[in-house]
Symmetry: C2
Subunit: 367 residues, 2 copies
């Protein structure tokens, strides 16, 4: 039987502490070249009345867990111009106002499909865990103050993952809407034995913070260099969230992957991938003017060490008291293979999930 899991089941099966341990292990496999990912690719269709269709896939293979996985997103997206610049939103236009993101897990011993899972909870966990692991291996002294910029679903997970790795004396949250930041602060206070404050602005949040986590969907800078303590560790999911000079002044920049842009295939542009560092990739023409294009500065992300290298000691530790930065720039298929395998093993043990006859997904012929 092939298991079909839900996001609720995956959340139950994958506590953040176990995600950290599993991903710590798989990044070491990757750093030792024993696990691989096929970098993400995005295919963009033309704009239709609901938005622009994008089909995104990435693959991962982890021999240690005897699994391979494809993670895919079948999205209708819309860009819009708002006060904080251009933002991209996935439209929930599948039946029931839902989204479509899947992880398919396969056995490398038999080839058979083991499980089909939604990607949402795993996506949230993998981003948060990667940031926490980067901090675990980059931050030298026990940090005391954690600042979080952002208050969405993703931001909450980041705080929980960081709190698994470090014992903070203080957490501060800033996001532009008071109600949101106060809601997240209350949630985190209820779950963590740490004082958590919602603060009025980003400079107040980041002042003297040892770790600054950025979890927004902004494509404009949200943290400036002059706000940061000299020894701060900063993590972001997109380098455009970083103010000018942060990367340049960091003594160590680690990236999630050096394949830091997806291979883009756009209807009308032929089949050659478009990989230039163009922030307007795939953007509808009507929004191209609205989108800020910041020069990347003096730091070439495609030549920085990656997380696997960091975790396997292939990176020189930064000097005490210097700025460091982790750019969690793009997802990797091996994250979904690793977390998917863990969710699958546990679901089998606990009898969770719905079953679909594996034979429906096998074939007796191959040309």
């Amino acid at each position: 039987m092939t298991l079909v899991l839900s996001n609720d089941e995956i959340a139950e099966l994958l506590p953040i502490s176990d995600c950290l341990a599993r991903l710590d292990d798989v990044y070491k496999e990757a750093g030792n070249q024993r696990a691989i990912s096929r970098p993400r690719s995005d295919m963009y269709g033309p704009v239709h009345d609901r938005g622009r269709y994008v089909f995104k896939t990435m693959d991962g293979l982890v021999p240690k867990y005897e699994v391979a996985a494809v993670r895919l997103n079948s999205d209708v997206i819309r860009w819009s111009s708002g006060p904080a610049g251009v933002r991209k939103d996935k439209q929930p236009v599948a039946p029931g106002d839902k989204w479509v993101g899947l992880v398919l897990l396969f056995s490398t011993r038999t080839g058979e499909p083991l499980a089909i899972m939604p990607d949402g909870v795993m996506q949230r966990l993998r981003v948060a865990a990667a940031n926490a692991l980067a901090a675990k291996y980059m931050v030298q002294r026990g940090p005391s103050v954690y600042a979080l910029i952002g208050s969405g679903w993703q931001a909450g997970a980041q705080a929980l993952a960081m709190a698994e790795v470090f014992s903070f004396a203080d957490m501060r949250i800033y996001s532009p809407t008071r109600e949101n930041r106060e809601r997240l602060a209350a949630e985190l206070r209820a779950r963590l034995a740490v004082p958590v404050k919602a603060v009025e602005d980003a400079p107040a949040a980041t002042r003297d913070a040892d770790i600054v986590g950025i979890a927004t969907n902004s494509i404009n800078p949200v943290v400036e260099l002059e706000w940061l303590a000299p020894h701060a560790h900063v993590s972001c999911v997109n380098e455009r969230e970083l103010g000018e000079g942060i990367l340049e002044h960091s003594s160590l920049v680690v990236v999630h992957s050096r394949s830091d842009r997806p291979y883009n295939y756009i209807v009308g542009a032929g089949e050659q991938p478009i990989r230039a560092h163009d922030p307007q990739e795939g953007l509808p023409d009507e929004l191209k003017q609205a989108r800020a294009s910041r020069p990347a500065g003096g730091v070439d992300l495609s030549t920085q060490p990656d997380l696997g290298e960091l975790l396997t000691g292939q990176v020189q530790r930064p000097k005490n008291g210097t700025l460091t930065c982790f750019v969690n720039n793009i997802g990797l298929g091996l994250q979904f293979a690793a977390l998917g395998a863990l969710a699958y093993e546990r679901a089998r043990q606990r009898g969770l999930g719905r079953e679909m006859p594996t034979d429906w997904l096998l074939e007796s012929v191959h040309p």
Copy 2:
């Protein structure tokens, strides 16, 4: 409901004539840059007791049919040395001694998963139809004699597809094992109103043939230039099947895709794709010496016109009486999107297939 189809249903839903019409249409979409594919990638695991695991994916997007698709293969493969050189075989090690190849079809309007289908029958049809379409647009005068080298499942489909496009006076089949070639000749005689003969050797099959189809799993030449009529049209799935000089003497070479090698990711070799024209990509060390490496000659396949360009008149027609060649070098995701959409539409009309709640494959969150 998401439809799950079987190979038998797909064979019933997709007669070769309809595949030809659908693919004729989609190659024109591609030639006009209105349909795209994300080129195939292969991830190779290490060798285990059953063979070497390979996870292969390719994606396609066809706005005209409002679909995107991923086609994936989760295979355990083995290479072996035999009298005809090195051959690669997929091991049927999934439960019930089966293989694993799937096409997942998605709506570009809503993002939702429409269908899950095995890839075997579609793979056979798409290869055969592409060869027949190439011949339809490259062969000038009505051809009279068709020679087929190979007698496997794939070869049979090629003969059926060619016979849809042309009225042959004569068909000849050669493959090394008499029993196999005679079985296929008898099968084709029963289905086609054409004399079909099994012949003793490849020179006898190809002599004066107007079209020569090669459908073997050999990686060594099986047809030589000096056997061919000056005006012959040759199609193959792998240029290593062609004897020295065939490509070089062709007045027109068309390829299925200029992205003619998969992006290979090999455990132990890091995450950078390996795309050199190395016929030993992914081959276990113990077989590397056994495999012939033939120089590609003077023809660079990555600069030849592709099938979409041929079908949209972007290629100058060859002179009458000259050799032409179609190299059906690699599959494209858009073939599976196009044929998958056709199978899906018809299965819905006819009430075929098993159903799975689409809601199992949707999600209410996305980070």
